[in-house]
Structures are given as C-alpha cells and as structure tokens.
C-alpha cells in the first residue's frame, strides 16, 4: 500500500450519526494532519497530531494515532450535512533543511444526508 491510504474510500451516513475514517501510512512520521476538501475547492486544515500524541480533540473532531500500527483515525461526532466533503490525512516525515513536505492519502468522501 502507498503512504497515506484512507478507508473507506466513500462513506454515507445520516445527519447526527458519527463518521469514522481511517488512515494508514508506511514510514515514520513527525506528525499527521487531517484536511477537508469541499468539492473542487481548497484544503482546509482540521487537526494536527504529533507522533508522540495518541489522541487529540477539537470540537466535534477526535483524532487518534497509533504509531505502532502506523494508523490514524478521524472521528466526526454528530455529523451535519455541512460536513459533506472529502477528508485527507497527510503525513509529515522529517526535516529536509527547509520546510517539511506533506504526503497525502487517497481520501475518504463523506456524504452526510438529511
């Protein structure tokens, strides 16, 4: 598998339900970040979790990181129709002398229906 693969590829839920998306990666990382992308639009940063953290919360978002399994999950609680978007994980793997490139996953398309 490639660095940064999310599953499921697509997820359809009802408003009010929780949505869980998973991300797996292959190499060691400094941090893992989750981004949201509305159709054809820009990337909005949601949350960053460092490699020495196991869980982080931000509003209705909960992110976990298991570096032993090289995986992360993003939980969106009490989903809303406005949460409909694609969600990407991105890993940052180290310093290159100037800036840190992000390696993105394939994304999960979330659809929240009324």
């Amino acid at each position: 598998s490639q660095q940064g693969e999310e599953d499921p590829q697509a997820l359809s839920i009802q408003e009010g339900e929780n949505a869980t998306m998973n991300c797996s990666y292959k190499t060691s990382i400094n941090n893992l970040q989750w981004y949201r992308q509305n159709s054809g639009r820009g990337l909005v940063h949601l949350i960053l979790i460092r490699s020495n953290e196991r869980e982080k919360h931000s509003g209705r978002l909960r992110v976990t990181l298991d570096t032993s399994k090289k995986s992360s999950s993003l939980l969106i609680t009490a989903s809303r129709a406005a949460d409909t978007a694609s969600y990407f994980c991105a890993t940052e793997g180290g310093y290159t002398g100037g800036g840190n490139k992000l390696t993105f996953g394939t994304g999960t398309q979330l659809k929240v229906e009324l």
């Binding site: 940064g4 400094n30 941090n31 970040q33 981004y35 054809g40 639009r41 820009g42 990337l43 909005v44 940063h45 960053l48 460092r50 490699s51 990407f88 991105a90 940052e92 310093y95 290159t96 002398g97 100037g98 800036g99 840190n100 490139k101 992000l102 390696t103 993105f104 996953g105 394939t106 994304g107």
Partner: protein, 115 residues
C-alpha cells in the same frame, strides 16, 4: 484570520504556453510550498522553498517548473511549456516554521486546464 491567497482561480492555456501561478502566503510565514492535485487523484508535493531557495522538490518538478519569490509577499510557480498532463489544481501552502507541530495552510487553489 490570515489566509493564503492564490490567483488566478482558473487558468486555461494552450499546450506549449507558459503560465505563472501566483500566491500570497501568510505574512509572517517563512516556508512555502506548491502541491498539485490531478482530478480525482491524490494531492502531490511539488516543491518547498525557504530562504529564497528550493529546499526540496519532487520528481514531478522537472526543468519545466520554477518557483520564485519576486518580492516580500508573492510566491510564484512558473510552468515554462505546458503539457496536457499539467492540467490540475495547483495549491500553494505556507507554514510559519518547520517543527513537528507546524501546520501548513493551503490556499484555495488555481485550476489549470491545458488544451
């Protein structure tokens, strides 16, 4: 809240033409990046830039591509002779630093279509 801006939002060009995509990073940020996303595919790293130098570039970033910070606010990506396969959404990003908790903030993107 400060944000990364990009112009134009859409660009249509003929194969072989040169295009310049423009970005204004967040003002106190020091690290700048370009990424691209071909329709339906992953976001891919192109290049990172710090202290007026390229710090890393991907295999995609060949001799047809160049970046420049012509003044204190703009950051540009130039594609010298566009190919059909350069059609993609191009994202500029910036970060304040490079530590393990540095977030990269992305602009809204420029959709480039090469005909």
């Amino acid at each position: 809240e400060p944000e990364v801006t990009q112009t134009p939002s859409h660009q249509v060009t003929q194969m072989g033409q040169e295009v310049i995509l423009r970005c204004v990073p967040i003002s106190n940020h020091l690290y700048f990046y370009w990424y691209r996303q071909i329709l339906g595919q992953k976001v891919e790293f192109l290049v990172s830039f710090y202290n007026n130098e390229i710090s890393e570039k991907s295999e995609i970033f060949d001799d047809q591509f160049s970046v420049e910070r012509p003044d204190g606010s703009n950051f540009t990506l130039k594609i010298r002779s566009t190919k059909l396969e350069d059609s993609a959404m191009y994202f500029c990003a910036s970060s304040e630093g490079r530590g393990p908790q540095e977030t990269q903030y992305f602009g809204p993107g420029t959709r480039l279509l090469v005909l």
